[in-house]
């Protein structure tokens, strides 16, 4: 990566990535603005700041050193940079649209009220440029299918943290197949599901955490989705 430390004497882009990863939102916004003021182009700033911060979190996560509080703080700093700095210089949603990523229908399955993990997934998928349709929590299996058809989705993501929902999760793939949606990938995640193999849940992939999901979507987990 290009080193801006020499060109931009007061701040370098590493500081921005570090501020975001540490969740220092006010500092991150100020640093991002300063970099642009000093002449750095928008794309390089986004690559070297928010994107790099996401990668460092992902690495941390591989060694199990991350937690919800850190993700919340980093996610907020990332969103603040995008909304308060990037969107002023470019249409953020247009940038996202331009990437033309597929639609992702996401929800917590019927009977389960846990949604924090699912919300983290929605936030990260949006930052990756996916069109996310978040159905919320306590979602009937059939609802995932209805919406997936309507939105021509490529992915259905089912979240659950309790074991009693497993029969409902198993229905999702079966209903998708009945509706002729064999091409749709059904993905699952959440604390309890993490213990299961995909065939136990009748899904295509079980994510250990959100970064594992992102690696899967980028085709870095063996097979391409």
């Amino acid at each position: 990566m290009k080193d801006f430390g020499s060109e931009v004497p007061m701040v370098n882009t590493d500081e921005l990535a570090i501020a975001i990863a540490k969740g220092e939102n006010i500092e991150a916004v100020a640093l991002a603005q300063k970099l642009l003021d000093l002449g750095l182009d928008l794309e390089t700033m986004v690559e070297a700041g928010p994107t790099k911060a996401l990668e460092s979190l992902s690495n941390k996560c591989n060694t199990d050193e991350f937690c919800l509080l850190e993700i919340l703080l980093a996610g907020r700093a990332m969103m603040d940079v995008m909304e308060q700095v990037v969107s002023r210089h470019a249409d953020f949603s247009a940038m996202v649209e331009a990437q033309n990523r597929p639609s992702f229908v996401l929800g917590t399955i019927k009977g389960d009220m846990h949604d924090l993990g699912k919300n983290v997934v929605a936030m990260m998928l949006k930052l990756e440029g996916y069109h996310v349709i978040d159905l919320g929590k306590d979602v009937e299996p059939a609802k995932f299918i209805q919406v997936a058809v309507k939105e021509q989705a490529s992915f259905i993501g089912v979240s659950s943290l309790i074991t009693t929902t497993i029969p409902a999760i198993k229905q999702v793939r079966a209903l998708a197949t009945q509706a002729g949606l064999d091409h749709i990938k059904v993905l699952a995640g959440g604390a309890v599901l993490r213990q299961a193999e995909p065939h136990h849940l009748n899904v295509d992939f079980v994510a250990q955490n959100v970064f594992h999901l992102l690696r899967y979507l980028r085709g870095e987990c063996g097979e391409k989705p």
Partner: protein, 336 residues
Amino acid sequence: MKMTGLSRLTETLRWRTTDRRCCMPMVFGYAANAAGISLKDALTQTDALVSSQIIAQRLFGYDAVHVYGGSVTEVESFGVPLVFPETDYPYIDPDYKPVNEDALADQPLPDPTRHGRMPYLLKSVKTLRQEIGRQVPVVAVVTGPVTVGAQIVGLETMLMGFVEQPERSRRYLEKISLLSRNLALAMVDAGAHVIMIMDPVSSQSIMPPEVFRRFSLPLLQNIFRSCREAGVLACCLTITGKVDGFFPLYPDIGADIVTLDYEVDPAQAFHRLPNLVIQGNIRPLDFVEGHPDDIKKECKNLLHLAESRPGYILAAGCELPLNSKQANVEAMIGST
């Protein structure tokens, strides 16, 4: 001579060997399912809770009975509305709007002998102690203050508050921990042998060790200290998920027993926690999806690892899932 569950636990706490390994799975709501009693009844009526615990304990022969009203028992006593499904634990009404942290700090403190379902849980402890407490230890489960706080103000709000307004967070958590302490003491008074603090929100997957040290640790220490002064047989801390980052703090918490979930490496835990009785860490989902042979294999590995460690209790580090298969529970007990 065959030991009772109580003597097995007592000897394990003294780090002495027992006739067979002490086995104390966290059989909460599953007891109702195993006994053919409605879970909703077992969570709202003393008779149903007591019978389900006794029937399930006799059916399987493990070494403890538990009194647990769900993780929403304390929040309910603060007036938070709940939904009670027939076959699952109660949960907070989805329409509930979390209260402001300051308002919570100013709210009157619920009384364990009067509010919500706490009186019925106390009565259950008392009845179990009278009926089987001479042979089998009665474990009373109290929710950790941080977990209660997260439910009342919202987990994300609470976590952000730790960073932005630590003093305010401390104020309302101390208030909640008074309730946790009073409830724990009332449980001891009613005859509980063991106080188990269940604090799933104080997990490393939610907060880093430094935040745990500043917020959860002092509250847990206080509750355990009070229980000890009141003469409880043992204090047990249950935090699900990863906790190894907290190990340097664990010896100072004041617990005699710590439970470990399947994500923690037991060999490392045995090494790093040489003076704490460790309970765990069979994979909970295997009781639902696995085969008895899988359970037997896991238990065999754990028992082998703990061969020279009397301070070990066989169990999973999380509640036994409601939809566990009976044969899998039998396989666990059969392994001891």
